[in-house]
C-alpha cells in the first residue's frame, strides 16, 4: 500500500454516489408534510407594482399561502442586513421588500402549496398590474454615463497606470486599436437553485441549499430573519455546478426560509431554468485596447479601458484591465475601468471573472499588434515576456509560462504555422491556428478543519467547504491520507455543513490551497498526537522514541532509522487506551510572503479552427492548453477542471450570449434551448498539459488552484485562429457565422485586414 496519494490520478471518492444517482442535491432532501414553493417574477424591468391580485390563486385547493411584498413583514429593516460575504458596494436587492421593480424577472412573489403542480398552477392565476417607468439597459448606448468603479468588493483592486502611453502611441509607427464587446452570459449550472428548508419545533431552521458557501448563507439568513447563527444550519453536501453563481445566496433560499418560518412547515423552493436568468450574470462589457510596438516587436505602449454593466443598486466590480499591466514588459501603460448603471440584476462573479473578459480583448490585441509588426504571435509574446510582476515590481513565486509556451507549441505543432492568414485550407474549410495566454491569482484564504481518528483506525476530516464538481472530496481525502500515511479507504472527508469548521467561499480557485492547507495542518496535529502516544507505548519498538525520529506511511508509524520498527495506528491507540483523537486546525496565507512575491498561475492555449469559407461556420477542431499551476494534487480531477474550462472557453467564444431586448429591458433567450452552451458535438480534441512548476512560497502544499486558469485564454486563442483562417477580426463575442461572413447588421467590430 503506497500512501503518497497527492500527485496521483485517483478516481473520485464520490464517484460511485454520482454515477448511481445517490449523491443528494439541495432539492432532494425530504421531510414529512413538505410544501412546494413556486416563485413568480416581474414581467417589467422598471417601475412599481400597482396591484398584485392573489385572490383567484388563493382559491386553488392545496394552496397554503402566497407571499408578496404586501404581506411579508418582520424582516430586517436595513439593507446592510442583506449584505453577504461576496456583496459588492451598494444596497443589496431585498426580495419581497417593497413594490419597486428594479429589473426584469425580479422575484415578486412565492406561492406555497401542497404539490409542485398546484403551486405552479396557482402562480399562473396571479394578476399583477404595474406602473412602468422608462428603462435603460443598453450598455453600448450609455457608455457616456460611466463612472469610476469604486473599491469595496472583496479582492477588487483599482488599476495602476504607468509612463505616458498616449504620447508614445501617438508617435508610434506600429500600432493597432480596437473595440471588443461581449454581451451578458449566464452561468447555467445544470442543477437549478434550490432550497429545502426544514423548520424545527425549537425555532431552528435547517436549510439544504445549493450554494458555494454554507457559512455565507447562514450569515445572510440569520441577519435578514433575526435568527442567531446557531439557529440556522445550512447543509450542502453536493452542488450541481456553481461557476460563481452560488457565491452569493440566491433568492430561493430567502423564499424557502421565509415560508418555512411563517408556516412552520418544511418548504422546498426550486427555481425554473428560466429563473436561472433572473439574478447575477457575467456583465456585458465594452473594451477598447490600443497598443504600439517598435520594429523589433517590443511593446512601447498599452492602453486598455473597460466599461462593465452593473445594476442601479450595487456596483459589481471585477478585475479586468489590471491584467494588462502585468502580462508583458512595457513602460507605458494606461488603464481605465468604469461601470455603467443599468436596469439589470447585479452581475455576479462567473468563472475567471474579469480575467476572461480582459483576455478576450487584450490577447486578441496582442495578436493584432504582432501581425502589425509581422512577428509570429508566440514569438512576440516571448519578446515581451515579463519575468516579474510589472505592477507590483515583485518577482513571481514561480512562473513557468515559458514552459507552457514550449510544451504547448510542441504538442500543437505550432512551428509548422505560416503567419499568413488564409494560408491553410481543406476544400471549403479554411484552417486557422491561434494562441493566447492567461494568468490568474494563486490565492489562499483562512480555513479551518477538524479531524477525528477513531479506534478502528478510520479518520474523518471535515470542513464546511463545498463540492461543486471540482473534486474537493477527493483531493482532501488524498491530502489527509498522505499526511497520516493512511490507506485512502480509511479516510473520509466531509463538507458542506455549518456545523463543521468554517471554510471560505468556494471560488477564485483557492479552495484546494485554503482548505487543503487546513486539512494538512489538522492531520499534522493528529500525527503529532500519534507520535506522542507511540512514544508512550510500553515494550514496543517505538517506546520512548522522539517525534523527530518517527514518521508515518502505509498505515504505520515507524522509526525513520529502522522502518522495521513499527506499529500500526490501531496498535498505538489500543496500547495507549486511546478511544479517539480529535484535533482542530486552521491555516491561512503567510502575510510575509505577499510583501516579497506575487502569486499567479499561468496558461498558454493553442487552438485550431476550421471555418467554412462560404457559410462562416466555425468548428474548433483542436485545443492544447498548457497550464503552470504549481503542484497538481490529482491530475485526473485537475485535468477535468481544465478540460471543462476549455469547453467553457469554446462555448464562450462561439455560442454564449444572453440577449437583451432593450425595448423590454429583458433577457429574451432565457432557456437552454436558445441560450446555447456547448454540446458534445461541439467538442473535439483537447489536450491538457500540466508543466512542472515547483513553488515553496505559495502555500505549504505548493499548489495554485485550477478552477479558472484553463478558461482565460481560450476565447482569444479561438478568435486569433479565426483571423488566421479567414483574415477577419471578429472582436464581438460570440463569433457566429453572420459575423465571420461580415453579414451582420452591425459589423463595426468585424474588420477585414
Amino acid at each position: 500500500m503506497k500512501t503518497n496519494y497527492t500527485g496521483q490520478p485517483a478516481n473520485r471518492v464520490d464517484g460511485s454516489l454520482k454515477v448511481t444517482g445517490t449523491a443528494k442535491y439541495a432539492a432532494e432532501f425530504e421531510a414529512e408534510g413538505l410544501l412546494f414553493g413556486y416563485i413568480i417574477n416581474s414581467t417589467i424591468a422598471k417601475g412599481k407594482i400597482k396591484e398584485i391580485d392573489i385572490s383567484q390563486a388563493m382559491q386553488v385547493a392545496g394552496v397554503v399561502q402566497i407571499f408578496t411584498h404586501e404581506n411579508v413583514s418582520g424582516l430586517a429593516w436595513f439593507n446592510k442586513s442583506y449584505k453577504d460575504m461576496d456583496s459588492p458596494p451598494g444596497d443589496p436587492f431585498r426580495p419581497l421588500y417593497d413594490h419597486k421593480i428594479r429589473y426584469s424577472m425580479q422575484p415578486i412573489g412565492l406561492v406555497v402549496a401542497t404539490t409542485f403542480e398546484v403551486a405552479r398552477f396557482a402562480a399562473s392565476l396571479i394578476k399583477v398590474t404595474y406602473k412602468e417607468e422608462k428603462l435603460v439597459t443598453n450598455l453600448q448606448d450609455n457608455l457616456h454615463r460611466s463612472k469610476k468603479a469604486p473599491m469595496g468588493k472583496v479582492g477588487y483592486v483599482q488599476p495602476k497606470s504607468r509612463g505616458d502611453a498616449e504620447s508614445v502611441f501617438a508617435k508610434a509607427e506600429y500600432k493597432i486599436e480596437g473595440e471588443y464587446v461581449h454581451a451578458a452570459e449566464h452561468h447555467n449550472p445544470l442543477e437549478m437553485f434550490a432550497t429545502t428548508a426544514i423548520w424545527e419545533e425549537d425555532g431552528k431552521v435547517t436549510l439544504y441549499d445549493k450554494t458555494q458557501g454554507v457559512s455565507n448563507v447562514q450569515l445572510y439568513i440569520s441577519n435578514i430573519f433575526g435568527l442567531s447563527l446557531k439557529n440556522v444550519r445550512v447543509v450542502s453536501p453536493f452542488v450541481g455546478g456553481g461557476f460563481g453563481s452560488g457565491l452569493r445566496p440566491q433568492y430561493q433560499v430567502f423564499m424557502a426560509t421565509l415560508a418555512a418560518l411563517e408556516l412552520r412547515r418544511p418548504v422546498r423552493v426550486v427555481m425554473t431554468r428560466q429563473q436561472m436568468f433572473s439574478f447575477g450574470h457575467r456583465p456585458g462589457t465594452v473594451q477598447r485596447v490600443a497598443m504600439s510596438a517598435d520594429e523589433n516587436g517590443k511593446l512601447t505602449s498599452i492602453q486598455h479601458e473597460a466599461y462593465g454593466e452593473t445594476s442601479q443598486f450595487e456596483d459589481y466590480t471585477e478585475i479586468v484591465v489590471n491584467w494588462s499591466g502585468t502580462m508583458y514588459n512595457c513602460e507605458n501603460v494606461k488603464l481605465k475601468y468604469e461601470l455603467v448603471k443599468l436596469d439589470v440584476a447585479t452581475p455576479t462573479d462567473m468563472r475567471a471573472p474579469g480575467a476572461v473578459t480582459s483576455a478576450h480583448a487584450f490577447e486578441s490585441a496582442i495578436d493584432e499588434i504582432a501581425y502589425a509588426v509581422k512577428i509570429d504571435p508566440l514569438e512576440f509574446r516571448k519578446i515581451n515576456y515579463a519575468e516579474d510582476d510589472q505592477v507590483e515590481g515583485k518577482p513571481y513565486s514561480s512562473k513557468e509560462l515559458r514552459a507552457c509556451y514550449d510544451q504547448g507549441a510542441a504538442k500543437f505543432g505550432w512551428s509548422g504555422r505560416s503567419i499568413e492568414p488564409r494560408s491553410m485550407r481543406e476544400g471549403n474549410q479554411l484552417i486557422g491556428w491561434g494562441m493566447a495566454n492567461g494568468a490568474w491569482d494563486a490565492l489562499q484564504m483562512p480555513a479551518k478543519a477538524q479531524a477525528v481518528l477513531s479506534l478502528d483506525g478510520k479518520l474523518t476530516v471535515s470542513s464546511g467547504t463545498s463540492e461543486i464538481g471540482t473534486g474537493t472530496y477527493t483531493i482532501m481525502t488524498q491530502i489527509a491520507a498522505e499526511t497520516l500515511g493512511m490507506d485512502i479507504n480509511d479516510v473520509t472527508f466531509k463538507l458542506g455543513d455549518t456545523l463543521m469548521p468554517m471554510a471560505p467561499l468556494q471560488g477564485g480557485s483557492w479552495t484546494a490551497a485554503s482548505v487543503g492547507s487546513a486539512v494538512k495542518a489538522v492531520c499534522e496535529e493528529v500525527k503529532a498526537k500519534l507520535f506522542k502516544l507511540a512514544s508512550k507505548t510500553k515494550h514496543s519498538p517505538l517506546s520512548g522514541a522522539a517525534p523527530k525520529e518517527l514518521t508515518m506511511a502505509e498505515g504505520h508509524i515507524f522509526l525513520i532509522s529502522d522502518p522495521g520498527s513499527r506499529l500500526s495506528i490501531i496498535e498505538v491507540m489500543r496500547l495507549t487506551e486511546t478511544d479517539s483523537i480529535i484535533e482542530s486546525g486552521m491555516s491561512g496565507p503567510d502575510p510575509a510572503a505577499k510583501t516579497t512575491h506575487s502569486f499567479n498561475s499561468h496558461a498558454a492555449v493553442f487552438a485550431e479552427v476550421k471555418v467554412d469559407e462560404d457559410l462562416g461556420t466555425v468548428i474548433v477542431t483542436r485545443v492544447v492548453c498548457a497550464v503552470a499551476a504549481g503542484k497538481i494534487l490529482n491530475p485526473k480531477t485537475a485535468g477535468s477542471q481544465i478540460l471543462g474550462s476549455v469547453v467553457w472557453g469554446i462555448s464562450k467564444a462561439l455560442e454564449e450570449e444572453t440577449v437583451m431586448d432593450n425595448n423590454f429591458g429583458r433577457f429574451m433567450n432565457h432557456n437552454l434551448g436558445e441560450y446555447h452552451v456547448a454540446v458534445n458535438k461541439d467538442i473535439n480534441d483537447i489536450d491538457i498539459i500540466f508543466v512542472e512548476e515547483h513553488d515553496d512560497l505559495v502555500n505549504p502544499l505548493g499548489i495554485k488552484g485550477v478552477g479558472e486558469i484553463g478558461i482565460i485564454a481560450v476565447a482569444p486563442a479561438i478568435a486569433n485562429a479565426v483571423f488566421h483562417a479567414t483574415g477577419v477580426r471578429v472582436r464581438d463575442l460570440p463569433i457566429t457565422m453572420d459575423k465571420v461572413l461580415q453579414l451582420a447588421e452591425e459589423d463595426k467590430n468585424q474588420v477585414r485586414v
Binding site: I44, S124, L654, V659, D661, N663, M668, G673, V679, E745
Partner: protein, 338 residues
C-alpha cells in the same frame, strides 16, 4: 400549467369525438412541444386526448410503391426505418438533424408537423405576441429578430416554423392524411402550413378536431442526389438559422428534376416551384445554382438582426445543391465533411 382533464382514446373516431367535445381540447402524442408550452402557460388546453394507443404506429409500403408513415411512428423510428433510409434518405437526414435522440424517441411524425415556433416573444408571456394573443402586436419586428423569418412575413408576425422534418417533407412532396368530424381528407404538404398573414395565431389548415393519421411519400422520388444542410449556432441540438433540403434528379450533368425546400426562413417550409422549373433541363453549375438561389430569395426581407439570413440562405442553397450533386451526404450528416 392550467388544470385539464385527460382521456386515453382507443380508436381514431373516439379520439376525434373526444377533442370535438370541447373547444379547447387537444390531442397529445409525444407531448414534447405541447407539454413544454403548457408548463409556460402558452398552451392551455382544458382537455387532452391521449392518442398514443391508436393504431397509427406503422410504416407501410403503399400499393403505388409510395411509403405511408403512421402519424404515431416516432421521429427516430422513421429516420432509422430501412425503407426511409434507402428510398428517402433526405427525410432521414432532416429528422436526424433536429432535436436530440431522446426527443426524437418521443416526438411523433404527426406532432412534428404541429410544432410551434421558437420565437422568443411567443415563448415569453411578458411580451406581446400576435401568435400567442392575437391583436397584442409583434415584439420581434422591432426587437431581437436574429432567428426570425425573411420570406412570407406579414406586418403581424415574422415567426418561423422550427421543424427540420417538415422541410424534407416539403421537398419530397408529401401528403398529410387527416381524419376529422367531416371524414377523411388528404392535404398536400405545400398546403398544410400557413403563412402568417393577418392570422398568425394559425399555423396550419387543420380544423379543430382534425387528427393526422399518416403522411404519404410518393414512390421513387429522390432516392439519391439529396442533401440536408442545417446551419445553426452550435453543432447539434439547436434550431436552424437556415436549413436546406435539396434533391436532384440528374441525367449526366443535366438536371431532370429538382426540389429545394428551406427551413428557418419562413412561417412554413419554403419552396419556389417556379424557380425549380427554370433550373430543370439546365446543366448543374455553381453559377446556375446561385442564380436559382437569387430567384428563391428575391422576395426576401430582413428585419435587422436577421438580414444576414438572406445571403446565408443563398449560399446554403448553393452548397446543399452541390452536396446533393456529389451525392456524398451521410444519414448522420456532418457539415465538417461538407
Amino acid at each position: 400549467m392550467n388544470s385539464f382533464s385527460y382521456h386515453r382514446a382507443a380508436h381514431p373516431v373516439e379520439a376525434v369525438k373526444d377533442v370535438n367535445n370541447q373547444s379547447d381540447a387537444k390531442f397529445v402524442a409525444g407531448g414534447t412541444n405541447l407539454f413544454d408550452l403548457m408548463k409556460l402557460n402558452i398552451e392551455k388546453p382544458s382537455h387532452l386526448t391521449d392518442i398514443n394507443r391508436l393504431d397509427l404506429g406503422k410504416i407501410e409500403v403503399l400499393p403505388n410503391n409510395g411509403l405511408r408513415l403512421g402519424a404515431l411512428v416516432t421521429n427516430a423510428a422513421t429516420a432509422w426505418n430501412k425503407d426511409v433510409e434507402e428510398n428517402y434518405p433526405l427525410l432521414s437526414q432532416a429528422i436526424l438533424a433536429g432535436a436530440s435522440p431522446q426527443l426524437r424517441n418521443m416526438a411523433t411524425n404527426g406532432g412534428n408537423t404541429l410544432q410551434r415556433t421558437r420565437c422568443y416573444y411567443f415563448y415569453d408571456l411578458a411580451t406581446p405576441c400576435n401568435k400567442r394573443e392575437p391583436g397584442t402586436g409583434c415584439s420581434a419586428i422591432n426587437g431581437f429578430n436574429r432567428i426570425h423569418a425573411i420570406l412570407g412575413t406579414s406586418e403581424t408576425c415574422i415567426a418561423t416554423h422550427p421543424s427540420d422534418m417538415c422541410v424534407a417533407l416539403m421537398a419530397l412532396d408529401a401528403k398529410v392524411n387527416v381524419t376529422g368530424v367531416n371524414g377523411e381528407r388528404t392535404i398536400d404538404f405545400a398546403d398544410f402550413h400557413r403563412l402568417p398573414g393577418d392570422t398568425p395565431h394559425l399555423d396550419n389548415h387543420l380544423e379543430h378536431g382534425d387528427l393526422i393519421t399518416s403522411i404519404d411519400l410518393p414512390a421513387d422520388h429522390f432516392k439519391t442526389n439529396v442533401a440536408y444542410l442545417k446551419l445553426r449556432d452550435r453543432q447539434s441540438y439547436a434550431f436552424a438559422l437556415v436549413s436546406v433540403a435539396a434533391a436532384l434528379k440528374m441525367e449526366g450533368n443535366v438536371i431532370q428534376d429538382v426540389s429545394v425546400a428551406l427551413g428557418g426562413v419562413a412561417h412554413k417550409p419554403w419552396r419556389d416551384r417556379q424557380a425549380e422549373e427554370q433550373l430543370k433541363g439546365q446543366s448543374a453549375t455553381a453559377a446556375g445554382f446561385r442564380e436559382f438561389a437569387e430567384t428563391v430569395l428575391s422576395g426576401a426581407r430582413g428585419f435587422g438582426h436577421n438580414t444576414f439570413k438572406i445571403e446565408l440562405a443563398k449560399r446554403a442553397i448553393v452548397r446543399a445543391l452541390t452536396m446533393a450533386l456529389k451525392n456524398e451526404s451521410t444519414i448522420l450528416s456532418d457539415l465538417s465533411k461538407a
